[in-house]
């Protein structure tokens, strides 16, 4: 009997030791805009290696996440594709005001899978294609930016019948990637590291800056993993990853 007791105690100690490493590791659910999928995964991996905290990522349309968060979806952080939704969440009392910052600035690109298709602005003017893919402008900022660009070039009315909308920027990209649309407005980040094809980086003066803001949700204000993750996003290490994936950085959001 004594040996049984000893064995149980030893087993218990072993279990405690093995799980002890994670005894203080928290976790947080983060809603991530579809366009930020790859950098988010890498940064979450780095974060976990550094702190042991688990970041559970969900990817999708910012509009959809906003709606879900209003209905008490269990997200601690929203990494939005715009700055509208985080602002709204703060003004509606759901987001922590001081936590909101711009984690990335998105770059719009006109892209085709075919290396000869996109030459620049003139490709749009020439209008020699069947379908142009964009993200839904009401739900995705890259879609709105695409429409802004077309309007700034005075081409929206002529091209509009040829537009097909993807629900998210990922889907807009998919339409072009599968060749169903000859070209489309996608996020530069989706073309990293080397997507091939042909592209035109849309000049910033043609569309409103796509500031992608992060915000901590009030319900998770005490979640250590969440606050630590937001702080991590401002570190040079994380910012280097963000830049690597084709985003511009807001100088005011660094540490």
């Amino acid at each position: 009997m004594r040996s049984m007791r000893f064995a149980t105690a030893a087993l218990g100690a072993a279990i405690a030791l093995l799980t002890g490493a994670n005894a203080f590791a928290g976790s947080a659910n983060v809603a991530v805009a579809a366009n930020f999928t790859e950098p988010a995964k890498e940064i979450a991996g780095l974060f976990k290696a550094k702190t042991g905290h688990d970041i559970v990522l969900s990817f999708g349309a910012s509009g959809q996440f906003y709606t879900q968060i209003k209905e008490n979806a269990p997200f601690a952080i929203l990494l939005s594709a715009d700055d509208e939704r985080p602002k709204k969440l703060v003004s509606e009392g759901l987001g922590v005001a001081e936590s909101r910052f711009t984690y990335a600035i998105g770059k719009l690109v006109l892209w085709s899978r075919d290396p000869a298709t996109v030459k620049g602005e003139e490709t749009l003017k020439a209008n020699a294609f069947n379908k142009l893919s964009i993200a839904n402008p009401t739900a995705a900022p890259y879609g709105a930016a695409a429409v802004e660009t077309l309007k700034a070039l005075n081409l929206y009315d002529t091209i509009q019948p040829k537009i097909v909308q993807g629900n998210t920027i990922s889907q807009a990209f998919q339409f072009v990637d599968t060749g169903n649309a000859e070209l489309g407005f996608v996020a530069l980040s989706q073309l990293m590291p080397n997507a091939g094809g042909s592209r035109w980086l849309v000049p910033q003066n043609l569309y409103t800056e796509i500031r992608q803001d992060a915000v901590l949700l009030k319900a998770s204000a005490g979640n250590e993993a969440a606050t630590a993750f937001l702080a991590f996003l401002k570190t040079p290490e994380a910012r280097a990853v963000i830049e690597k994936f084709g985003y511009a950085l807001d100088p005011k959001s660094g540490t």
């Binding site: 537009i163 629900n167 599968t178 169903n180």
Partner: protein, 229 residues
């Protein structure tokens, strides 16, 4: 309540009804021979075919939609077909939606018809044969009337299922007003932009419509089963 349900709300409604009607008709024509074969064949691989037909029942619509996107595109058969009239792809078109709907709703039409044929058994067709009726004539004068409740169920289910279709349309439609922006996607758009009142109006309309359709089906089917037995 300030509704902005403009006049062009009828466009997705009409589009949805057209899609559902066309899909149902096609499925009745295509699905009946399949159901007949499944009911009466003795091939050892017949249940494998049945399982293949039933796959859309368990596949997430987005998975089916994704493969359809590739198949309808320039690298798939859809693109090859479309090039006959100078187009690059069948995605983003109404015909493309019809193809997607037919594949997606097929099990809902084939299964009830197959069940009805099986319930009929061999005797009626055998009796017709002894009376020197050709198989073709026997099919139309004996099998179809006896299996009519199954036809009706299949038609109603196929129609209703296509009206409610969302995932597949989202993947291959491209949200083009008048061509691929069906009712479910229109409602989704309203929800995305937080236009709850408009979304509710449409959604409620769909619920009422579906309820009436299914209620009618149940009443007619009851009547048909009575007269068929």
């Amino acid at each position: 309540m300030n509704l902005h349900v403009s006049a062009d709300i009828w466009q997705p409604i009409r589009l949805t009804l057209e899609l559902a009607a066309l899909t149902t008709v096609i499925l009745m024509v295509v699905g009946t021979p399949i159901a007949w074969w499944l009911a009466r064949s003795r091939a050892w691989w017949k249940e494998a075919v049945a399982a293949l037909v039933a796959i859309p029942l368990v596949l997430p619509p987005t998975v089916l939609g994704f493969y359809l996107l590739v198949a309808l595109g320039p690298s798939g058969p859809g693109g090859a077909l479309a090039s006959l009239w100078g187009a690059r792809t069948l995605a983003f078109t109404f015909p493309g939606l019809v193809i997607g709907s037919v594949l997606f709703s097929m099990p809902f039409v084939v299964q009830p018809i197959r069940n009805a044929f099986e319930a009929m058994g061999d005797r009626p067709m055998e009796a017709a044969a002894t009376l020197r009726a050709s198989p073709w004539r026997a099919f139309w004068t004996i099998a179809v009337p006896l299996a009519s409740p199954g036809f009706l169920t299949g038609a109603i289910l196929g129609f209703a299922h296509t009206v409610g279709e969302f995932g597949v349309v989202l993947m291959i439609g491209g949200n083009i007003p008048g061509k691929t922006k069906v009712l479910s996607v229109a409602i989704y758009d309203y929800v995305e932009t937080s236009q709850w009142a408009e979304a509710s109006v449409l959604a409620l309309g769909m619920v009422v419509f579906s309820f009436c359709v299914i209620l009618t089906m149940m009443l007619i089917e009851k009547k048909m089963t009575k007269s068929a037995s």
